[in-house]
Symmetry: C2
Subunit: 329 residues, 2 copies
C-alpha cells in the first residue's frame, strides 16, 4: 500500500487537522473531532448536517460553509459516523429553527442518523439521497445508493436554507431535487482502504466495473474497457431512461472523478456526455467537473444529471463559500 | 493503458472541447484550438499569457479568467506549444498595453516563447519560473524546473495586471514572486502518456521518487517509501534551506497533488507540513490544497512555499474567477 500517511490509525485525525487548519477562515472542528462546523452560524436558519464515511473527500466536510452545510460528521474510511457525532453536531448548529440531516442511502448511515434524530430532543427532519441508477440493492444498501448527486442536494437545499426557508420546506425541496437527480459510475481501478492495506477489488488489465459504487462495491457487470463515448452513452443512457426528461429540458451535468482520474480525462468525458445529451434533447446549462465525491484513489468517474428549473438554477447560482466549492462570495 | 478516452490522437482536442463548453461563461477557444482566452478583455490591461504541454491540468487553461491569465496555449501532452500558438494568443489578447509571457523553465517552452516574443511585433516581456529546488539541471531543463509555484506567479501577477500595472512592473513583480517561491515533489507512482501507452518510469512496491519532476522525470534519488512527516521534512527542509526565511515570516503553503493522490492524503500532508513550518518559525497565513499542477494520474504531491508580504497577500486575496480557482468574484 503506497500512501502519504504516517500511521494507519492516524489517517483520519491528521487529515482532519490539516483540513481544519487550511480552512480556519470558514470552519472549526468540534470536540474529539466529532464534526466540522461553520465558524459563523446564522441565527434562525435551519442547520444542515451531513456526514458519512471518510475517503470521499471533499464530500462532506469540504462542503461546509455559506450556502451549503452547517456541519459534517466524518466516520472512519468507508464507515458510518456514530449517532453521538450527529447529536453533538446538531447541538452545535441548531440556532432554534431545527436541523435537517442529509444522508446518503447506506444502511449504517441511515440507521445512525435515524437514531440521532430520535435522541436529539429537537426538531429534526431527514432527506435520504439515492441517486445511483446502477443497481437497486447493493452491498451496504437496501434500495439505490446515494452518490455524487448528494452534493447537488446539499448545495441547492443549502442555498434555500440561507434564504430562511423552514425545515419542512427544505425537506420537501431536498426530496424534490433528489428525485430529479440521477447518477451512474464506472471504475477503471480499485482503491485501497488504509486499514485493509490491500485493494478492495481487482480488475484485469483491460476491464472496467460498470455501475461501480463509491466504496468500490460491485456495479452491474464487469466488461472490457470501452471508449469514453461508449461509457457516456451507457451511463447517461441509464440516467436518461430513469429521469425521462422532456425534450428541451435544462440540466446540470456533474462529471465527477473518483480520485485517481486526471482532470484531462474528466473534461474529455464532458465532451462525450454533451454529445449524448444533445442527442436526447437535454440542454446542459450548468457544469461541474472535478473530483468531488471520491473513493480514495480509485480511477474512474460518475456522470450525474440533475434537472433544473428557474428556482433550482437560481439556488445553484446563489453565493457559496466552502473549502471545495466557491462562487459569488 | 486504462484511460477514459476515445482515440489517442483525439485526447487533447476532445478534452479542450469539453473544457471550453463547461466554462463558456469565462472563456472561449481560439481558432484551431491554438489557445483558450478570456471571453471579456479589459482594454488597456497588460495581456497575461502562459502555456505548456498538456497533462498538467488545470494548469494553465484552468487559470484563464479574471485576476489571472488572459490566455493559455496548450501543447500536446508533455510537449511544448508552438510559437504560432503564442503569436495567435498575443494577437487575441493584446489590447494595447503589451503582453507578458509566463513560462515554466523547460527548454522547449522557453525557446518557443522566445521565438514568439521576437516575431510578435508588439511589446512583449517574459517571466521564467524555476521554483523546483530538487535538481539543478534535468531531462528537459537547463537550470531549475518550473513547477507548481508557477500558479502563484500567475495569480499574483494576474491580480496586479487587473489593477492596471504596466508591463515592466508586472515583469518585475513576477520575477520577485518567483524568487520567493520554492517547491519540491515526490512520486509514489508513474503516469502514462497516452501516445506512449506505457508508464514513463517504474517504481518498486515500496519505492518513491524523491524530487520528481512534473513529467515524471527523475528527481534526486529513489528511496524507500517514507512517512508523510519524513517526506514533508525532507521536501520543506530543502525549500526552507533555499529560501532562508526569517523567523516569523509569513507564507502561502501550496500542497499540490499530482493527479492520482486523494484529497484525504493531501490534507494529511498539510498537517505534516505545518509541523515543519512551525519548527522553522514560518507562519502559513494562506493555504491552497488540491491537484492544481498535475502529471496526468501520477500519485504523489509537491509542497510549495511562497513568502508573502502585505502587498502580495492582498494580491493573492483579490477577486479571482477562473475555472479552477475562484474567490471574491
Amino acid at each position: 500500500m503506497k500512501k502519504l500517511i504516517n500511521a494507519v490509525d492516524a489517517v483520519l485525525a491528521e487529515s482532519l487537522d490539516g483540513f481544519a487548519a487550511a480552512h480556519a477562515d470558514i470552519l472549526t472542528m468540534g470536540e474529539e473531532r466529532k464534526f466540522v462546523r461553520r465558524r459563523t452560524l446564522k441565527p434562525g436558519k435551519v442547520g444542515l448536517i451531513s456526514g458519512g464515511g471518510s475517503g470521499h473527500e471533499p464530500l462532506h466536510a469540504g462542503f461546509v460553509g455559506l450556502g451549503m452545510l452547517d456541519a459534517a460528521c466524518p466516520g472512519q474510511v468507508f464507515t458510518s459516523p456514530t449517532p453521538d457525532q450527529m447529536l453533538a453536531a446538531a447541538e452545535a448548529v441548531d440556532t432554534g429553527a431545527g436541523v435537517l440531516f442529509i444522508v446518503k442511502n447506506y444502511e449504517g448511515d441511515v440507521m445512525n442518523f435515524a437514531m440521532a434524530a430520535e435522541m436529539a430532543g429537537r426538531e429534526v427532519a431527514t432527506v435520504i439521497t439515492d441517486d445511483d441508477v446502477a443497481v437497486e440493492n447493493s452491498t451496504y444498501t437496501t434500495g439505490r445508493r446515494g452518490v455524487a448527486g448528494t452534493l447537488i442536494v446539499e448545495r441547492i437545499v443549502g442555498a434555500a436554507a440561507e434564504q430562511g426557508r423552514d425545515l419542512a420546506a427544505l425537506q420537501a425541496l431536498g426530496e424534490a431535487v433528489n428525485g430529479r437527480t440521477r447518477s451512474m459510475g464506472v471504475a477503471l481501478s480499485s482503491c485501497t482502504v488504509p486499514a485493509a492495506g490491500t485493494p478492495t477489488f481487482t480488475l484485469g488489465e483491460d476491464e472496467m466495473e460498470m455501475g461501480v459504487g463509491i466504496h468500490g462495491e460491485p456495479g452491474r457487470r464487469r466488461v472490457r474497457l470501452a471508449s469514453a463515448d461508449a461509457i457516456a452513452e451507457e451511463m447517461l443512457g441509464s440516467v436518461l431512461k430513469d429521469l425521462a426528461p422532456r425534450r428541451g429540458a435544462e440540466a446540470l451535468l456533474l462529471v465527477n472523478g473518483f480520485g485517481g482520474t486526471p482532470l484531462m480525462e474528466l473534461y474529455l468525458m464532458v465532451d462525450s456526455a454533451r454529445r449524448v445529451l444533445e442527442g436526447a434533447g437535454v440542454k446542459a446549462v450548468r457544469f461541474l467537473t472535478g473530483s468531488y465525491v471520491t473513493s480514495l484513489e480509485m480511477a474512474g468517474c460518475s456522470l450525474t444529471l440533475s434537472l433544473l428549473d428557474a428556482e433550482t438554477t437560481a439556488l445553484w447560482d446563489a453565493p457559496l463559500h466552502t473549502p471545495a466549492l466557491r462562487w459569488g462570495a
